[in-house]
């Protein structure tokens, strides 16, 4: 395929040293997650329970949404409903205009990225500052997050140093993370204190109590929403959980899976606005009801956005989050995006070796690699496969169906590979050979070896 993920990943992959650095950084996070998972004997029970709670919630979603709305209203919050991203943007814009807000602080929210809310508000003269350090870095670099939990994981400290020197006036050449973080703290403190309103995402919404939970390590959500008069929380309808006590399951899984912490520094439960303030909660659909209707994809709505599937994915680690060209990259992004917009994202389910590691680490047991395979089938059915791949697959099917032909072609192939000159073997037709060497062809065949050493069957 000349476009899509492979093309978008090329520049990243070409810089071997950097790709290796990125790979190592994420593997480090994956290992921290493993230690946390191993520290709890009940880890697998927790995953099963979390998955079952999410499944249960989906079966009674309408009832739980209504319960949430009425409980939130009883707490003094206002719930808004948005079918599309543009409806959400409109609601948020009008709310902000109602308090004449010009400067808005936002804590991390992948949902508002999904809606391109910042750009929309900018058009209405409203300035949004992302306050999570990683998000602030990518915002200043005019990029999008490359990871849902570690937005600036693709950025080196030297680059952050240069960026902060240019925009925040830090010392030239300074790269110490402690120093740079302190500079961001001072810069964002001023933004917090001067904000007219605050926007956050939602990690969990509790139907039983009408409350929302936001998890951060930096404390940016708590500071952001507790100073100005208005707090707007934006959530996808899949964030809903039935009961307050369900949080015990999810808070134990989220940070352990995400960053290898036993819990985030701040797990903040908002039931009422701050004294004298107002709290608005916007619930977004944007295709989620369609996903819910797909039996084989439905479980992707269980996702709690921990990013563990990204940290473990051999393709993500080596190609970088930006190569996916989506708000949510990695394995879960390769399910969600093509499921919502198959034309635009049909290369993503193939950015996968089907190793299954994503499914193994997923805290809510989404069968990600099975779903990726399912979506590959739909891409093929829709005629979205490249011609070279289609032909190769048809040829392979023909050979594999006929043992005599397989035997013949395996024998001939061995010689062919050995004798074919490099310039033909690694021509443009062999996509697989880009940046890879074919393995040396063995002298004997497995069939012969097995006849000699193995069983009695042919």
């Amino acid at each position: 395929m000349g476009t899509g993920h492979p093309a978008a990943a090329r520049a990243f992959v070409d810089n071997r040293e950097r790709a290796h650095w990125h790979d190592t950084a994420l593997w480090f996070v994956r290992e921290k997650r493993d230690k946390q998972a191993a520290s709890l004997p009940e880890w697998e029970t927790l995953r099963e329970t979390a998955s079952a709670i999410k499944l249960h919630t989906q079966t009674q979603l309408a009832e739980y949404l209504l319960e949430f709305e009425s409980e939130a209203a009883a707490n003094g919050c206002v719930v808004h409903w948005a079918e599309t991203t543009s409806e959400l943007n409109k609601i948020v814009t009008e709310l902000l205009q109602s308090v004449n807000a010009k400067d808005v602080v936002k804590s991390k929210s992948m949902l508002t990225e999904e809606c391109h809310l910042n750009e929309h508000l900018a058009k209405h003269g409203i300035d949004v500052v992302d306050t999570d350090l990683g998000e602030r870095i990518v915002q200043m670099r005019k990029e999008r997050p490359s990871h849902i939990v570690l937005p600036a994981i693709h950025t080196k400290k030297e680059e952050v140093g240069e960026l902060f020197h240019d925009q925040l006036g830090t010392e030239k050449g300074a790269t110490d993370p402690q120093y740079l973080t302190e500079a961001a703290r001072q810069h964002l403190r001023e933004k917090f204190l001067n904000a007219d309103a605050a926007i956050t995402g939602v990690n969990f919404a509790i139907a039983e109590t009408g409350g929302i939970v936001v998890c951060t390590n930096e404390g940016n959500a708590d500071i952001g929403v507790s100073l100005p008069q208005m707090h707007i929380a934006c959530m996808g309808m899949e964030k809903l959980i039935p009961k307050l006590s369900d949080l015990s399951v999810f808070t134990r899984l989220l940070a352990r899976s995400a960053t290898g912490q036993s819990i985030t520094t701040y797990t903040s439960h908002f039931h009422k606005p701050r004294r004298g303030g107002e709290l608005h909660i916007v619930i977004l659909n944007n295709g989620r009801t369609e996903l819910r209707a797909e039996p084989e994809i439905r479980e992707a709505l269980h996702c709690i956005r921990c990013g563990a599937c990204m940290n473990t994915c051999p393709v993500y680690r080596r190609s970088g989050g930006h190569s996916y060209n989506t708000t949510v990259p990695g394995p879960i992004g390769s399910v969600l995006n093509p499921a919502m917009d198959p034309k635009e994202h049909n290369s993503l389910p193939f950015a996968c070796s089907l190793c299954g590691s994503c499914s193994d680490v997923c805290p809510v047991q989404i069968p990600l690699h099975h779903q990726l395979l399912t979506i590959r089938h739909s891409v093929k059915e829709a005629g979205g496969l490249a011609r070279s791949k289609r032909l190769a697959m048809r040829l392979a099917a023909m050979v594999f169906k006929r043992p005599w032909l397989y035997k013949l072609s395996a024998g001939l192939g061995k010689f062919a590979v050995r004798l074919t000159p490099r310039f033909i073997k690694y021509s443009r037709l062999n996509v697989w050979g880009k940046g890879r060497e074919m393995p040396p062809t063995p002298r004997g065949s497995f069939r012969k070896w097995y006849q000699k050493n193995g069983g009695n069957r042919d």
Binding site: K157, T181, R252
Partner: protein, 205 residues
């Protein structure tokens, strides 16, 4: 506001209709009493709590109730001159911020209050804004002090939420350690936006 009530009702009804159009096979809630069977429990939950809290960067003091005020004074002295405030700490007369606007909390050098419970598995303490004039004080202060009773420490989050049942504080937060970030090359930096340090005073009755 341009978004009228009718608009909102229509959007809501249409979303609910789309959900109801797809009936999923029944799947019961897996936890009938909210508790997970076989969740980890620690024989010495206080010692485990101390270890967890120190791992996430907190400084732990263990004492008897008569010593709390003395330790509070010491912590305030360590963090230097400046505005301090405290609420609901046994042995100390409340001294919260009095100004109306929450922005006054930006001047806080040390803020102290009590937590309802501590969680051994992760060093988190539950704090609510019930008695605190400005909830933002918890995060906006440079240094935070939280007092908990040793007997209020539970092993895991299941037990913690069981204790919090029927509690619907306006705002409540599990705080585990001082604020932190690792957004620059995965290097852990303590003191992101929230409190730079967390001192925990465990009162052993």
């Amino acid at each position: 506001m341009v978004v009228t009530v009718t608009d909102q009702t229509t959007v809501k009804e249409s979303i609910l209709a789309k959900i109801r159009a797809v009936e999923l096979p029944a799947a019961p809630h897996p936890l009938s009493d909210g508790l997970l069977a076989d969740a980890i429990e620690f024989t010495d939950s206080v010692a485990t709590f101390v270890h967890s809290a120190e791992t996430v960067g907190a400084c732990v003091h263990q004492c008897i109730s008569q010593q709390v005020s003395e330790i509070w004074e010491e912590i305030c002295k360590t963090h230097g001159p400046g505005l301090t405030a405290h609420v609901s700490i046994d042995g100390l007369v409340d001294n919260d911020l009095k100004e109306d606007g929450p922005h006054s909390a930006a001047e806080l050098v040390v803020f102290g209050t009590s937590g309802a419970l501590g969680v051994a598995e992760n060093g988190a303490i539950w704090v609510s804004d019930e008695k605190i004039h400005h909830r933002v004080s918890l995060c906006l202060t440079q240094h935070l002090v939280l007092v908990i009773y040793a007997k209020s420490i539970v092993s895991n989050m299941h037990q913690a939420y069981a204790e919090l049942q029927n509690v619907r504080e306006d705002y409540g937060v599990f705080i585990s350690g001082p604020s932190k970030t690792a957004d620059i090359e995965q290097s852990l930096v303590i003191g992101a936006h929230g409190a730079r340090t967390l001192d925990i005073i465990i009162v052993e009755e």
